[in-house]
Symmetry: C2
Subunit: 861 residues, 2 copies
């Protein structure tokens, strides 16, 4: 369905070779993408001054001339205050012969002098890491040779030069040029790094760039200074960096505003537009396009394409003579670079102004769900500038205005799964699918994304039991559809349909939650969500069992039996476990606890069966293993399994609401795998699309489907939503389902066992469970849950007791949301356990402070 | 929010000019995009043989050499059956010196002879349209000069040459080369066309290409022959065609599978990836990438990027010497081209096989909504290969296997609005937004797409009354939220909330429909959707008024008064209208009909007010003007306006369900504009995102919002869905809202009046209303409705009476779906009235046949 899946042969490459076809298996570039060991909140950059990335549509289009022209314009400012230009070249090849930062370091003072002989300027140029082969060539250049040392194939110091222009004591302006990594050969960085034995990881490039931006722009003291910072990439937008990652992907976590140097030559319109599109479908904002005049007026079709929303600037033809010192050209181009500077400055100001007004506007016109607006003052509103994989990029104004990363540990209401690589793939897939299909009518039709999605679901979460896929929009609608299916099946199996209406109820568990539309609400027990003022039409059409719960307390996994069952004075055995795995063990079916459960369930079913009442139990609906919105409650899987079997024996159709639990949330594709039994109907949503777009499905067995087949349309299931099986949702689901279950793309997958490796450090989880502030913990799959120990009056959904803890964790770069006194952290199926460990560690530290704070408060009271 | 909106200055272009900044206002390229007068079902192409487009990442990368190599491989087949190669060059510049089709015509026989001296081949080369300046240069070339004629700046005949290879009687193989349009200057076609005064419209290029494919591939008789057809583009993928449209946009309606010629040079990885992405985000499938070896192994990062899903082929370095006859190079490259041919053939076969199996698979695993599966045999399943603007591209197997266009006249369940240009923009926006945001948490947060969307809604459909935006997923959820809002507001206004539960009902109209979840269903009158077997929990919590309806019958707009009201023996005046505009006239408030309505409404409100009953009417919910799913019923706007006012006087909150009627569906942005009154709450969905993705909003006044503000979270509106205000949906809404209301992009908009011009030809609509088979018609905005005159037992939702008519209209290229005996055609807000007229004409023709058929049937009975 995606553009690339049509061709399903194994990886190959065809190339000529002496009249024979040779299949050349590619080298290390074709292996699993490298896992970046990113750290929490690595990426942050200031907004006090503008920082731009200079990209180009191709190599050799004059990126460095544009940087030079901009540098000269920004330093030759007419304002009396000092100005500073920071130029960073992260990756340089052909060094030292080619050095863009050296070019700017030499050229800008020349231009400034020519424009104003009284110019004063402090200029410096530094190359931070030079490959060993390039370092050997340094003789003959004017770098100092002191203090060099070699590391990872780079020499790391001594490449610093500076000069001063003008004679005044006070230096008016400053030019700082930096090359981060340099290689000798004038080829792509990924080739040079390989050939010269000096590799640098993507994450190191990012950290180094962050440092260079920080030191270059300087501390807050610089507010009087006009600073412009330019980061110049190497080659074209999608040219590989040092590890082979495309530069447009590599620098994405910063998402700096961009200038694109286009191509003014014959054929250059196409290359410029394509490069613009490659930036755009990675979420970059291109603020302006600059191109060289080749007499072809390429700017006109470009402006037409851009619908005049992005300015296009044309610089004069660049002299071809290598001996030309370009002074005349820079003179001729001055007005264009001045305009470009103006555009960049004003775009930056507009961005800042917008970021500042957003919280207030949001407060004034949004109506947030599940939010008491009175409790959210303007300063509590978070401005999300973008997301990259698991991280938000947040606008922060406290202390120092910046964009900074925050781990989305609530997984944006449990929807999220993608890492940065999957997000970019999904972006491409969304573009492709919108262009190929937009949305098309579903009933009686078939189109690739819907069909492939249905196939993948039946081969995946529905394998072994489901045979039909019913699409809808969200968990709530999927549940309403499931109920309609279950009731019909129940009626067909158990009644003569001509005998008229019967009152039907569901069997459900207390603490369960199945969605916010009325039908889904009626299937859940009374709760804060169902009160008369919330939903005057709620009637609670179910009988609701109190389930036994499991959690780790003080290092031990334990079952808590609800009062109803425990009251029977049976001595409770088999309620503690050495490990979590034991909880899920099938052998528990023979335990004494199983007998207790069984008799309780039988008794309840009997009390609530039709013969003694005016109503019938027409369906069982459960959230397998974890009840999410109810407070991340882990239900004893043994209890759920026995309940499912009893219902199926009574011909009561069973619905699994896997909206939260499905698609690796609990470490397995479907939570049914943990329960070791199968439903008749199941609902999926949230993580199914990888967390990019709403889509839900209700899967059903063939028996369920058959109860809707007949001669009349009126017997069919008459429920649908306009965007049923919309192509974008289906395409996102196809990509995500395949991505998560492929060990080539998901490093957490244990392929043979088809489950995720343990993501939350067992030892630390245990340690946390001993913490005095902690009531219980559960760690399972991508989920870590912690219930704070509170007084009874502090518990429950409306509790604010966790807020001080969560505020501190947000300062640590972890974005969490509470469920009353229950807090949780959620990662994606591909998130590294390394990151999860860091989050647990920060949580543990903050828990100690939290406890201390609480005890202080207690004393005050 | 979109990448381009950040910069909101008026259109401009900066360029250098003798030391002065000059703002150069661009020429015709910057004007409104040309309106293509497309005809219904223009585009169709065979699937009997593979047709590929050859694209390139840039100019000068050897597209024509690839075409030549492929041609030689395909004609030098070892199979004993004849083979045919059709090569089409739609746009050629630099003619006649440069002629890619002439090159192939000359070169391929040379190669074949060298490979096998016994080769037989009939080769021809034809140039169909030559610009006058290029035609003047024809002296010296070997085209015949007979029968030339000049049209639109082109000479159109006489450019034909052919030759025969080998001496056998039976010609084994055939090479057909065609250039469609040729210009003299070796520049981009849009410049050449302008300079040489020989323009060709995009739509003409498409029609010509369709013809060339048809004549080239030949009739069905060719099944024994292996045919490969190549369409070679000019320059890079996004190089402009003759009108300035980018070629990747121009050829999109065909969506032919593609071969991309990449760039093996330094910097070429980037250009190749970007070109690939430009094709991909226009919905093309790239089957293989070919590139020239420049010793840089560009194929390795490409394969890594492509995750080995698309084969990459490397051809040897191309000799630079212009005197080289390339025979050696073709020899060396043979294996690569043979492989490429194999890949293309097998990909084509796989595509066909998949298209063939799709209907059966769909039948086996889909569970379509609102569909009785027993009534949909495999042959009734439509395979939608793609959509482009308002058209589906359908796989057709009858007679001749092909992909053919069909106008989506059901607007895919009333969701659709985009034309081809908006669809491509939305595709780019979806890519950008997925890459920038994916989906991020909404409550207590703010991010650009959600904020801009809310701003646009309050400035647009909510202008003058709404002050808050509540996001959800679809019309049904938006209605459930609206009901919760209305009830709370009603309770706060009218009751002491501590007094306990009260039974609340809605006031609604019979025939209305508000969605399929239980809460929305309970707000509608009993219908086929609400029966016990469909929804055992349906109770119908409303009192349902029978509304007066309006339609055109026999050329006159008339009100039909329901029995309840009419029974009062009042003489009915003011029930016929000269025009539709009169129906909406505010002056009707003073008519005698208004008095009748008023007293009826007052009476009903009194009967159903709380004092006399155990329940209260807590909300009014209506679909303004048109009740969609109920059968496209037009309700008398006067009646709705009086009802709204009465309710508001009684402090009963009023909900407009604009899910169907909103966003230009009825020719105005909001149907409230037609009713001339405003609600307290309104719901929007469907067309809001331009029809690409599900998103819904419930707008509310500040008074309604205030009834949820308090100190406790429990007083807040506790209803939400995981993907609340998801970024992709909001971004699509922003783009679409702006596109439709901008006369630069929407040619149907009358800017001063802020409404759409009449799309359905008034005369023909009137004529249809006189047709004996027609009960009534309504035409309003993008909607044309027709109710077939049937016997009572044939009416209603389950009626199949329209099916024979609709089958014929599908043959005419119009995809419609019935609502029982009501059929309708729906276009987008930007669709040309020219197309609407064509559809009405075809409908009229088929109506005559339908009637004839019916009368025959009647006689048989």
């Amino acid at each position: 369905m995606t553009p690339t899946t049509m061709f399903q042969h194994p990886p190959f490459l065809f190339t000529y070779s002496r009249h024979f076809l040779r299949r050349r298996h590619a080298g290390h570039h074709l292996s699993t993408p490298p896992i970046r060991h990113r750290f929490l909140s690595t990426i942050t950059h200031t907004l006090s001054h503008p920082i731009y990335t200079i990209w180009a549509a191709n190599t050799g289009l004059g990126k460095t001339l544009v940087s030079t022209g901009l540098a000269a314009s920004s330093l030759h400012s007419s304002s009396p205050s000092p100005s500073k230009l920071v130029y960073i070249k992260p990756l340089q090849t052909g060094f030292p012969l080619d050095s863009d930062s050296a070019f700017i370091y030499r050229k800008v003072p020349q231009i400034l002098l020519l424009r104003n002989p009284q110019s004063t300027l402090l200029a410096s140029n530094q190359t931070l890491n030079v490959s060993v082969p390039a370092a050997k060539l340094k003789i003959g250049n004017n770098f100092s040779e002191e203090g060099q040392s070699s590391k990872n194939g780079f020499e790391t110091s001594g490449y610093y030069e500076e000069r001063k222009l003008g004679i005044g004591e006070e230096v008016q302006s400053e030019l700082i040029c930096k090359t981060m990594y340099a290689w000798k050969e004038a080829i792509s960085p990924h080739l040079a790094a390989e050939r010269e034995g000096s590799n640098v990881e993507d994450s190191d490039v990012l950290v180094m760039l962050k440092k260079c931006l920080e030191t270059g722009i300087g501390s807050k003291g610089d507010e009087r200074t006009t600073v412009l910072c330019l980061v110049e990439t190497a080659g074209g937008v999608a040219s590989p960096g040092s590890t082979g990652s495309l530069q447009c992907d590599l620098y994405r976590p910063f998402r700096l505003p961009s200038i694109l140097v286009g191509d003014g030559r014959l054929g250059g319109i196409s290359g410029t537009i394509s490069a613009y599109e490659s930036l755009t479908i990675r979420g970059y904002d291109v603020v302006a396009i600059v191109l060289e005049d080749h007499g072809l007026q390429n700017e006109l079709p470009l402006l037409s394409y851009l619908r005049n929303r992005v300015p296009v600037l044309v610089v004069p033809s660049i002299p071809k003579d290598p001996l030309d010192n370009l002074m005349e050209w820079f003179d001729e181009s001055k007005s264009v670079f001045d305009s470009l500077m103006g555009i960049m400055m004003s775009s930056h100001e507009k961005r800042i102004a917008r970021l500042h007004e957003m919280p207030k506007k949001a407060q004034e016109i949004f109506w947030w769900p599940f939010t008491q607006h009175k409790l959210v003052p303007e300063q509590k509103v978070t401005v999300i500038d973008s997301r990259c994989g698991e991280n938000f990029a947040i606008h922060k104004v406290k202390d120092h205005e910046c964009i900074t990363e925050m781990f989305d540990a609530c997984a944006s209401w449990w929807t999220q799964g993608p890492n940065a690589a999957l997000q970019i793939k999904l972006a491409r897939d969304m573009g492709y699918t919108a262009a190929r299909f937009g949305h098309v009518m579903f009933p009686e039709n078939v189109y690739e994304p819907a069909l492939e999605c249905a196939e993948l679901l039946l081969q995946g979460v529905g394998k072994g039991w489901a045979s039909r896929v019913y699409f809808s929009d969200n968990g709530s609608t999927a549940v309403e559809i499931a109920l309609k299916m279950a009731f019909r099946k129940f009626l067909v199996d158990n009644f003569d349909l001509s005998q008229g209406n019967i009152e039907l109820k569901v069997i459900a568990l207390k603490g369960s939650y199945h969605g916010d539309t009325l039908g889904a609400m009626d299937a859940q027990a009374p709760s804060p969500y169902t009160g008369f003022l919330q939903q005057p039409w709620y009637t609670g059409r179910g009988f609701f069992l109190d389930p036994p719960l499991v959690s780790m307390c003080d290092g031990i996994w334990k079952v808590t039996i609800p009062g109803e069952m425990a009251a029977e004075n049976v001595i409770l055995k088999d309620t503690s476990f050495k490990s979590r795995d034991e909880v899920f063990n099938k052998s528990r079916d023979d335990s004494s606890l199983a007998s207790l459960y069984s008799s309780y369930i039988s008794q309840e079913l009997q009390i609530n069966s039709g013969s003694e009442n005016s109503y019938y139990a027409g369906a069982l609906i459960i959230e397998p293993v974890i009840q999410g919105a109810g407070g991340m409650l882990m239900v004893d899987p043994l209890f759920q399994r026995l309940l499912v079997k009893k219902c199926q024996n009574h011909k009561i159709p069973v619905i699994f609401d896997e909206v939260f639990t499905g698609f690796w949330r609990l470490g397995v594709q479907s939570a049914a795998e943990l329960l070791l039994c199968q439903p008749d109907i199941a609902c999926y949503a949230k993580l199914m699309t990888g967390g990019v777009i709403p889509l839900a499905v209700t899967l059903a067995t063939n028996d369920v489907f058959e109860s809707f087949v007949g001669d009349s349309k009126l017997k069919a299931l008459l429920h649908g939503h306009s965007y049923s099986a919309h192509a974008l949702g289906c395409a996102a689901a196809c990509s995500s389902i395949k991505w998560f279950k492929d060990s080539q793309t998901n490093p957490n997958l244990i392929p043979q066992q088809n489950l995720l490796k343990e993501l939350w450090d067992r030892e630390l989880v245990e340690k946390i469970s001993f913490h005095p502030a902690v009531q219980r913990v559960v760690s399972l799959g991508t989920l870590f849950v912690l219930e704070l120990r509170v007084e009874d009056n502090e518990a429950g959904y409306a509790s604010q007791c966790a807020s001080s803890l969560l505020v501190k964790l947000r300062e640590d770069g972890i974005y969490m949301r509470p469920l009353g006194n229950v807090i949780y952290m959620m990662c994606g199926p591909c998130t590294s356990s390394h990151l999860c460990l860091q989050m647990l560690e920060r949580l543990y530290t903050r828990l100690n402070e939290f406890r201390h704070e609480k005890s202080l408060k207690g004393r005050e009271m």
